[in-house]
Symmetry: C2
Subunit: 365 residues, 2 copies
Amino acid sequence: MQARHSGDTSSGKRIVISVDAMGGDRGPAAVVDGMAASAKKNPEIGFIVHGPRAELEPLIEKRKLGSRCEIRDAERVVAMGDKPSHVMRQGKGTSMWSAIEAVRGGDAQAVVSCGNTGALMALSMVRLRKLEGVNRPAIACLWPSRNPGGFNVMLDVGADIRADQDDLLQFALMGTSYARNGLGLERPRVGLLNVGTEEHKGRAELKVAHDLMADAAPAGQFDFVGFVEGGDIPSDRVDVIVTDGFTGNVALKTGEGTAGLIRDLLGEAFRYTPLSRVAALLALTSLKRLQKRIDPRRVNGGVFLGLNGTVVKSHGSADATGFSAAIKLAYRLAESGFNQRLAARVASAGAHRQDTATETSGESR
Amino acid sequence: MQARHSGDTSSGKRIVISVDAMGGDRGPAAVVDGMAASAKKNPEIGFIVHGPRAELEPLIEKRKLGSRCEIRDAERVVAMGDKPSHVMRQGKGTSMWSAIEAVRGGDAQAVVSCGNTGALMALSMVRLRKLEGVNRPAIACLWPSRNPGGFNVMLDVGADIRADQDDLLQFALMGTSYARNGLGLERPRVGLLNVGTEEHKGRAELKVAHDLMADAAPAGQFDFVGFVEGGDIPSDRVDVIVTDGFTGNVALKTGEGTAGLIRDLLGEAFRYTPLSRVAALLALTSLKRLQKRIDPRRVNGGVFLGLNGTVVKSHGSADATGFSAAIKLAYRLAESGFNQRLAARVASAGAHRQDTATETSGESR
C-alpha cells in the first residue's frame, strides 16, 4: 500500500541489512525465515547476520541464503530481562552488539533486531552516537489510520520517558523526514498530542512547543495542524503525531490492547451459537480483509531516529512475516538515504534556530 | 451486567437525581428521553431537571414525567466552547450551576450533566468543594475489559493534567471505593500505569507512588498489583488503573479512537463485495453482540471523585440510551452512600499516614 519512494536512490547497488538473529521470542529460525521471504521478493538485498555460527549456519543453508548472507559469529545473546545499563557495559560479544557494529563500520546500511528494546536503544546510543544537533533520539512507530496510505507515524513511543519543548520540535523534524522517506509523503501534516485542542488546556511546555513548531513549519516543509488528541492518532487529519516517550508508549500499548480485546470479543461473538459459527464461515473473507488491514505484523518496526545509523526494532514476538516487514522498512530507509537526509534537516534547523537567536537549550549542539 | 450493590442502602426511599438538561450535542429532548427510560425501569427514582422552563415543560409532559420531576428554571446555558475560568466567575444562572446547587443544598443525591467537562469540573470544585483530605479530585471512567463484570475503572482521565505521588495514592483509594460501590467488587486489584513493568523503567514519582500504594494496600483493603502497562487497561489482571489526568485522557481517547477505526474498517470489510454483504447479513446478530459488549453508550459516565457530592459527566454526544446509563450510574452511587464511604476512606487514610509520619504534602489536610 505504500508507494515506492521516488527519490535519488542508489538503485542497482546491493543494500546490506545487518540482522541480529537472536533475542526474539520465536528464536533465530523465524528471523532467518523472514530474511528468506525478503530475499525472494527483493534481488537487491544482502545480509550480515549475527549470532552463534553453529546455530545459524544450518538455518541459512536450509533457506539457501548462503550467497546473499554473511554470518558473523557472536556467542552471547542479550536476554529480554537484561538491564540496558548492564548491556551497555557488558554487551560486547553479543549478537546485538555485533549487529550494530556492522552499521557503525559501514559494512551494512541498517540494522534490524527483535531483541530487548531498552538494550538496543542503549547500545545504539553508545556505539552509533547521536546525530550532531540531536539532543534526545526517539522511537517512531507506524499506526494503522484512515489515511490513504493506511498508516500514521507517532514518536516518541519509548526511547525516553521525557521530552522538553526543544526535543518535541526535533521530533517534529525527524518525524517529517521519516514520513517523507518511509511513507513517501511529500509534505507531512504534523500534530502535537495534547489533552484538548483549546488554547487553555494542556501542559506549559506543550504550549511553547506548539509555537516553536508553527514557526518551524515553513522551513521544515511540513504543515503544522496544531494540537491533536488521542482520538486523532488513527485519523486522517494528521500524518505525524509528536509526543513524549511516556505518553507515546502508553498510547501505543493502549491501542494494541484495545485492538486485541476487540479481536477476541469478535471471535467470541462468532462462536456464540451454531448459527453464528456458520455466519463466521461466510464472513471469513471479510474478517481476513479486516485482519490484514490492521495486522500488527504488517506495521512491524519501530525506527530509532536521531542516531548515526538506521536501527529498526522488530516486535519481540514477530514471526517470519513480521520480521520480513521490518527488513522491508530498513531496506526502504537505507535505499532512500534517509539518515543523511535526516542529519541535514536537523543540522539546518539547528542553524536556523541559532540565526533567529531562539536557542535555549543545546546539550550537544 | 453489574451485580446490584448489596450494602446497607436506603432502599425504599426515593432517590433524587439532579439533571442538567442543557449543553449536550443532541439537546434537552435526548436528555428527557433518557430520564423517561430510567424512570420506567426504576420506580424509586425522582428528578430535578434544570434548564429553560418553556423548553423543558412540553418535553416532560410528553414523556409523562410530571409526577416524578421538578423543573428548576435556568435560562442560561454553558456552551461547549466556554472557558472553565469564565464559567466559574460568570456561571450563575446557568442550568449547570443550578443542577450542582441542588446537590449542594441536599435536595438531590447526585448530579448528571452532558455539558462542557472543564466547566462542570470547575463549577463542581467551587460549589461543592473538595472533600476534607483530598488534594486533587479526579475523573474516573469505566473501560470495557476482559474481567467478568465487563469493565475496569481508570482514573484520572482528565480532571487535571498532573498528579504527584500523594495524589496518585489518593486516586488508588478513591478508585478502590468507586470500584467497590459502583461495580460491586469487594477487594479491587489496583495497578499503577507505567511504561514498563521492570524496576528500572518509568518516572521517579511513579516509583515513590508504587511504594506508597504497596504500603497502603492492607489498610485500604485493595490488592496492589504493581505497575501495569497500556495493554493491561482492558485486561483481567487489574480492576482499577491509576494514572495522571494527562496520560489517562490520552489513553482514553486513544482507546476510543482505535475502537472507532476498527468498527469502521469492519463495516468496510463487510461492504467490500456482494458476497461479503450477504455474509454481513448472516453475521448481523454476532456483530450486534460485539457492538453491545463494547457500546460506549453502555459505559457512559465519568464520575468526579473527591468532592462533597456525586457528579456524573455524561458524554456530550450521548443519546437517550447513553444518558439513561449515566443516570443509572448516578443512582447506583447515590443509593450505596458512595460519597460518605469515600470521605471516610480518605479521612482514615490521611490519619493513618499522619500516624506513620510519612506525610509530605498536604495543601488541604
